[in-house]
Amino acid sequence: MSEERYDELSRREILRNIGLGLTLTAGGADLLSAQAAQHVHQAVAEQKKSGPYKPKCFTAHEYRTLQKLADLIVPADEKSKGAIEAGAPEFIDLLASNNADLAAIFTGGLAWMDREMERRHKANFVSATPEQQTALLDAIAYRKNDAPEIAPGIRFFAWARNMTVDAFYTSRTGVDDLGYKGNGSMSEFSVPEEAIQYALRRSNLA
């Protein structure tokens, strides 16, 4: 997972995340330090990975097609980067390299995209124009368009969308996009009054 910046998760941050527990409990200190060690070890291992990602499962062409598709499914916008930066193609490639059923779904689906685009415009998916690409996606991104000619595309796109969305929102980029603030420690649980008033004001329950 090259482009997701693991170094964002610094040693300091990892230790801070779990270190607070150390001040809370005396008895469990040995357990906590072991836990801390595990986290740090893992994060450091991730940071060592660098250089461009080499696909384990897909051919170079398949991988480029997958990258294009992921970029169309979750693009960068005004608020955040997109699926490529979040490591979606690497995630799918890694899992497909360990699961033949998944590999078949993606190699088959990507090939279908190329054949369909060639049938329509005499170009494979990545070489087609952006308008041609979105026209094909507009057809296969909705169940209501289901018809024998594009049924395989609709089934495949549901897989590609689910896994791309999964990969994006389980990355630091996606978590920040949503504004998730947790996975840390609080000494007391409380909810900001501003949030309560926001919801009550917008509801019919005030």
């Binding site: 997972m1 998760l9 779990i18 607070l20 809370l24 409990t25 008895g27 469990g28 040995d30 357990l31 072991a34 836990q35 595990q38 986290h39 169309l72 499914i73 979750v74 693009p75 916008d77 608020k79 890694l94 899992l95 360990n98 998944l102 996606l137 991104a141 909705y142 169940r143 549901a158 969308r161 999964d166 990969a167 929102y169 389980t170 990355s171 630091r172 996606g174 978590v175 996009d177 949503l178 504004g179 998730y180 603030k181 947790g182 996975n183 840390g184 420690s185 609080m186 000494s187 007391e188 649980f189 909810v191 900001p192 309560i196 926001y198 919801a199 917008r202 509801s203 019919n204 329950l205």
Partner: protein
């Protein structure tokens, strides 16, 4: 001569006889271990799974991206329905265990979740801790269905006090008959969606009160107060969420009174000519060898169905139907909780200012049963409602529903997901099933597991009572979502035959298979969860429960196990067992 005698001693050392062998290390076994060792009794604990190591096994605080597969499993098991339990979850158990099958009678549907780890299901469970009500102990007297317990709420109440005091349970005194008050730690403030749900419930005259959960809102018994990361299900390194492993078994190991034997699959209880248990026969999984451990008494706490299996597999000429089964009731009266769930999208929560809503792992508010006195309902008993919602840590699958509903792609999909994040609320009904003659487990005469132990065959059928209750749940959840100005996600008026109600076993609240009662002709156990026919045999899990009220079983397992363990210790002291 002396040498010879000494050599013989070394060749055939007299095996140690433990005061008590406990089979199973979950809520019931852990409680037995804690209470007995506190009273100075020598205990050996058999656990079919490995020892738990929180530092190694718990994945608390890990972000999904810190694992290359992000929680899908190395081989993408999650995407093919082959993941046994969440990757980030604490070690807990399995829906399927290699080499340890069970069977389901044709035309029946049942799923059996089994634990194989020190601590059992308490390493992960939801920790909802509700006392049974006075009427729950007298169901037959209340509405003519089921069977009365041999004990009353007033007899169990002091044991609930002890269980709550030790485990640490949040809550408030409410004076509601369907939700008896307890020995509570401070409650935890409601999240924003829970405030809205409470207000909506007020409009509908439905109570919504602070939840009763076994997480520490302040430090007790050397366990640190909660740090509100919301990840109790992943295992808690500070043991702020109750587990039998961390709160009961690990401390007991330090007393010198406890011997833990993990990887030990109990096969059979060995009895002597007087019909007393003298040993437990078990398979040492690591070496696949048969071993025996000798005891003065045994506490079977292997989970309702595994305990029934162990008794049914302990057949002798004296006990041809299995041990403690003269009544024929071992394996019978199996129940699980009635489950039904529905989600809603609440526009008032869209764009809610972001904040940390993790809190404790699970709901901060819940709805106890509210129609106790209503006369003309079309189903007996009741249910409680568990609430979900808030800004959860994004996981694989968190936005599957959004993808399915909105479809499409690109910036539009991204905007939809942002807008809905934190604006989805969930309702889960958890209701009481009445025991019926079609629902039970028995030994399958044709199948043994990899250890050569005959396996269970399940029969399971919901009755009209449960199906009608699930329909009532659906209608209630729709009313609450409507009152919040929300949209029901899923079918508004589903065809409600079997559809929608949980598959038997999947709520993981099995109970009733070794029930207690005063009459040995109709119940295997007496009022102390002691076998009528075998005085040194006790059962401490949900097996002894005569009914399965709409209150998750764990707190009552602990309370009854505590009571049984003190009784057993006293009987040992008096020389009665």
């Amino acid at each position: 001569m002396w040498y010879l005698w000494k050599e013989m001693l070394q060749i055939q050392p007299r095996p140690q006889v433990y005061d008590v062998v406990v089979v199973g290390s979950g809520a019931g076994g852990g409680t037995a271990v804690k209470v007995l060792t506190d009273l100075g009794v020598n205990v050996a604990l058999l656990e079919a799974g490995p020892m738990l190591n929180p530092a190694r096994d718990f994945k608390e605080h890990l972000w999904p991206w810190q694992v290359p597969h992000r929680g899908a499993g190395d081989n993408a098991e999650l995407y093919f329905g082959r993941m046994q339990w969440g990757y980030f979850s604490a070690p807990n158990g399995y829906w399927d265990i290699d080499g340890e099958p069970y069977t389901v009678a044709p035309g029946n549907e049942f799923r059996w979740f089994r634990s194989r780890i020190v601590g059992g299901r308490t390493n992960h469970y939801g920790r909802i801790s509700l006392r049974f009500s006075d009427y729950d102990f007298k169901p037959y007297s209340t509405d003519g269905l089921g069977t009365d317990w041999p004990i009353t709420y007033d007899e169990v109440s002091p044991w609930y006090d002890k269980a709550e005091g030790f485990m640490g349970v949040t809550g408030t005194k409410e004076g509601i008959r369907s939700a008896p008050d307890g020995n509570f730690l401070p409650p935890i403030p409601p999240r924003v969606h829970e405030i809205l749900i409470k207000r909506a419930c007020e409009k509908l005259s439905i109570p919504c009160i602070p939840s009763r959960m076994a997480m520490l809102t302040k430090s007790i018994h050397g366990r640190a107060a909660c740090h509100y990361c919301g990840q109790c299900g992943r295992g808690c390194v500070t043991a702020s969420a109750f587990t039998s492993s961390q709160a009961m078994i690990f401390p007991a190991m330090k007393t010198g009174k406890l011997t833990v034997i993990s990887g030990a699959m109990a096969r059979e209880l060995i009895t002597n000519d007087e019909g007393r248990v003298t040993a437990v026969s078990y398979v040492d999984k690591a070496t696949r060898t048969e071993k025996r451990i000798r005891c003065r008494s045994v506490v079977v706490a292997a989970s309702a169905c595994e305990s029934a299996r162990l008794l049914l597999n302990s057949k002798t000429s004296r006990f041809p139907n299995g041990l403690a089964n003269g009544s024929g009731m071992v394996g019978r009266n199996l129940t699980d909780t009635v489950g039904y769930g529905l989600n809603g999208h609440i526009p008032a929560l869209s764009g809610l200012p972001r904040h940390n809503s993790d809190g404790i792992g699970g709901m901060h508010m819940y709805v106890p049963w509210w129609e106790l006195d209503k006369k003309n309902k079309d189903f007996p008993r009741g249910y409680h409602i568990e609430l979900g919602g808030g800004f959860g840590m994004p996981q694989l699958g968190s936005f599957r529903s959004a993808c399915n509903r909105h479809e499409g792609y690109g910036k539009a999909l991204k905007n939809k997901i942002r807008e809905e994040y934190g604006a989805i609320v969930g309702f889960a009904g958890r209701g009481e099933m009445i025991p019926n003659e079609h629902t039970f487990c028995e030994i399958d005469p044709n199948v043994v597991d990899r250890w050569g132990i005959p396996v269970l065959r399940f029969h399971y059928r919901w009755s009209e009572h449960e199906l009608k209750m699930a329909k009532h749940m659906h209608e209630t959840f729709v009313r609450i979502i409507d009152s919040m100005g929300g949209t029901v996600l899923g079918l508004r008026n589903p065809e409600r035959e079997e559809g929608g109600i949980s598959v038997g076993g999947t709520i993981i609240h099995e109970a009733g298979t070794v029930r207690m009662g005063d009459d040995p002709k109709t119940s295997p156990l007496n009022r102390y969860c002691q076998a009528h026919e075998v005085k040194n045999l006790f059962v401490s899990d949900a097996g002894p429960m005569v009914g399965n009220p709409d209150k998750n079983v764990t707190l009552t397992i602990v309370a009854l196990a505590w009571r049984t363990a003190e009784y057993l210790a006293e009987e040992l002291r008096k020389g009665n067992v």
